[in-house]
Amino acid sequence: MGMKKKLLSAVLCGAMVGTMMAPIATVQAADDTLVYWSMWESTEPQGQAIQEAVDAYTAETGVKVDLQFKGRTGNREALQPALDGGTQIDIFDEDIDRVNSMYAKYLLDLEDLVKESGYEDTAIPGLMSACRDAGGGTLKTIPYQPNVFAFFYNKDLFEQAGVEKEPTTWAEFLDVCQKLKDAGITPMTMDDAYATSVIGYHLARLVGEEKVVEIVTEGKWDDPAVLQMAQDIEELAKNGYYSEMVGSNVWPAGQNTELALGTAAMYLNGSWLPNEVKDMAGEDFKWGCFAYPELENGANGIETNNFGAQVFGINKDTKMPKEAFDLVKFITTGEYDAKLAEMSVGIPADTTNTEWPAMVECAKPVIEQSTGRLTWAAGVETNVDMTPVIKENFIKLMAGSLTADEFVAAMQEAAK
């Protein structure tokens, strides 16, 4: 009996140690296999389209690809540690600014590969130059799934209110809001998650992104532009142009229950919005889109927008740079770029794919007119210690529970 027990414990003990050790030995892919850590989930349309593209690439070229869906946070949390730990990852993707800054040191310079393959003939010039800017003057990433941040609106409601032209200036914008209001329609709504984009855009229209970053990082809330912005938003709030729910909307309440269901007309958001709410909005929802309006004496106008893309980066230590680039090209051009756009209701990265999914077609003019680029929320989130405070006070400003002066005072106090 005693012996048996001992033996059993020893076996169990060994089994336990064995199972605990197992994850330590990571499996490295074979030499002839490309490893791609994807920012998508396998269940998302993007993930499904990319899976199809990868399968087709392997079938066509014989190059094996180990495609691993990590998701947004998966890549954000685990990619760098994995790269530092020497895990073989040949291709990875994420937001344009994050890949080009956080993962800059792992990136292969793609200028030569792009030149050789003539990739740029069919790429969106604005995005390629945005990638070069973000890469410090040289191309280290390939953009796809372009997006633009702008006002998305319900065309039927505009029509109902007798609005014929999309506003380009602030005065026109106020006019549109009033017409909607007069027609008994809530002009616009917002969700907490995107509130900082409103303040960022407005401030950047007044003084440019560089100055916005300065204000939030150096606490220059006494800048006259801040008060100007706050007064503009206060006016919107006072006139009842924002939904009554704006103070308590937790994403996606505003976009789902107000915009998509047709009670509010406008919502400042990325071009991924129609895809996100398509099931609630229904097929007959007519989407419109216009750039954040120009402000009087502002630093920039509707030609400067927060546009970006997801980008592919290739590991500088990859043993198969040519194959990796070919796969990226395969996904971001021609048939599979069109497929990706179609399945995700997104914007194609290949300029020869001129047919955009109907729901995002409305964003085309905004993208095409964009020559200047703002980063996410025009840099207003640069200071993590301030972002939640900005968000809190700005939402209160939109909801009308803070006046412009109170907003400025609160921000000055918080920045001390």
Binding site: E77, D97, A193, N249, V250, A253, W376, E392
Partner: protein, 301 residues
């Protein structure tokens, strides 16, 4: 039994090695990291720059971090009061010999097996909705128009909303711990007390409660550990960017290590490590105070 040294070594070595590798090494490394400025969490040591106590000083001087600590304290203290009292109450009721004990136990424990994401979505998009929410309809049915109009998720009420939703999910877990404690007490004591004329309340006050001291300690420690790691609910109640009412030290730590929101922001894993060290100290402190205040070794039953 004769001591067999080889066997002792064989059995202890794996455990000791695992403990050293999996617990001690990360703890020591985290403490070490907290004295450095480190951009990427896995940066090689030659990229670290020594800053002494700067990370700690910076944390104490950052008002957002203080807000986060204050929120954590509120969650721990008020949430603790709510969860501990409710779970104890439920446990006492369930052990009082009511019918359908298993059924109710399962119902109360249910939120624990539902994903937090699903639970939070239910609370956020349904219960608290100012358009068609449960609370709104409930108060309207009672003709309490003032209460029906409250926007439960605005800045003023968001913390309370978060706390309620969180506690709802935690009661079942702590109830089970209480239950196991109560069931350990022999029914003979209660029988004797009943014969002596003690009613249910008196039995609870003078028998159950004192005999639960040890379990109480366990519960407080478990509650403290899970509160300190408060993260998911906070994230769910404030997507993309953190919120002053829901931010906790863990969320702040995440922002420092992986960047906050969608903007590429400055990162410092050393600061994150310092937060980890501070939080661990908090748990140790709570545990020590509990141990000092609640003595349960004087009882044997």
């Amino acid at each position: 039994m004769k001591k067999n040294k080889t066997m002792i070594v064989v059995f202890l070595t794996p455990a000791v090695l695992l403990f050293l590798g999996i617990f001690l090494y990360p703890i020591l490394k985290t403490i070490l990291m907290s004295f450095f400025k480190i951009e990427g969490v896995t940066d090689a040591m030659n990229l670290w720059s020594f800053v002494g106590l700067d990370n700690y000083v910076k944390l104490i001087n950052t008002s957002l971090f203080r807000t986060a600590c204050y929120n954590l304290f509120r969650i721990w203290f008020f949430g603790g009061l709510i969860v501990m009292s409710l779970s104890l109450l439920f446990a006492a009721i369930l052990t009082s010999g009511i019918r359908g004990k298993k059924f109710f136990r399962a119902i109360i424990y249910m939120p624990n097996i539902v994903s937090a994401v699903a639970l939070a979505t239910m609370w956020l998009q349904y219960v608290y909705s100012p358009r068609f929410g449960l609370l709104k309809s409930f108060f309207e049915a009672l003709h309490l128009e003032g209460l029906a109009k409250i926007q439960w998720l605005d800045n003023e009420h968001k913390f309370m909303a978060l706390l309620l939703a969180y506690c709802f999910g935690m009661v079942g877990y702590h109830m089970l711990i209480w239950l196991s404690g109560i069931e350990r007490i022999s029914p003979e004591y209660y029988e004797a007390a009943t014969i002596d004329g003690a009613n249910k309340l008196e039995q609870f006050r003078y028998m159950t409660l004192p005999l639960l001291k040890g379990v109480f300690k366990t519960n407080i420690t478990m509650w403290s550990v899970s509160s300190v790691g408060f993260f998911v609910w906070s994230q769910l109640f404030s997507n993309v960017t953190a919120d002053t009412q829901t931010i906790t030290p863990y969320v702040y730590m995440y922002m420092q290590i992986f960047g906050g929101g969608n903007t590429v922001t400055e990162r410092n894993s050393g600061l994150g490590a310092a937060i980890g060290v501070l939080l661990s100290l908090c748990v140790v402190l709570v545990f020590t105070v509990c141990n000092k205040l609640i003595k349960d070794d004087d009882l044997e039953f």
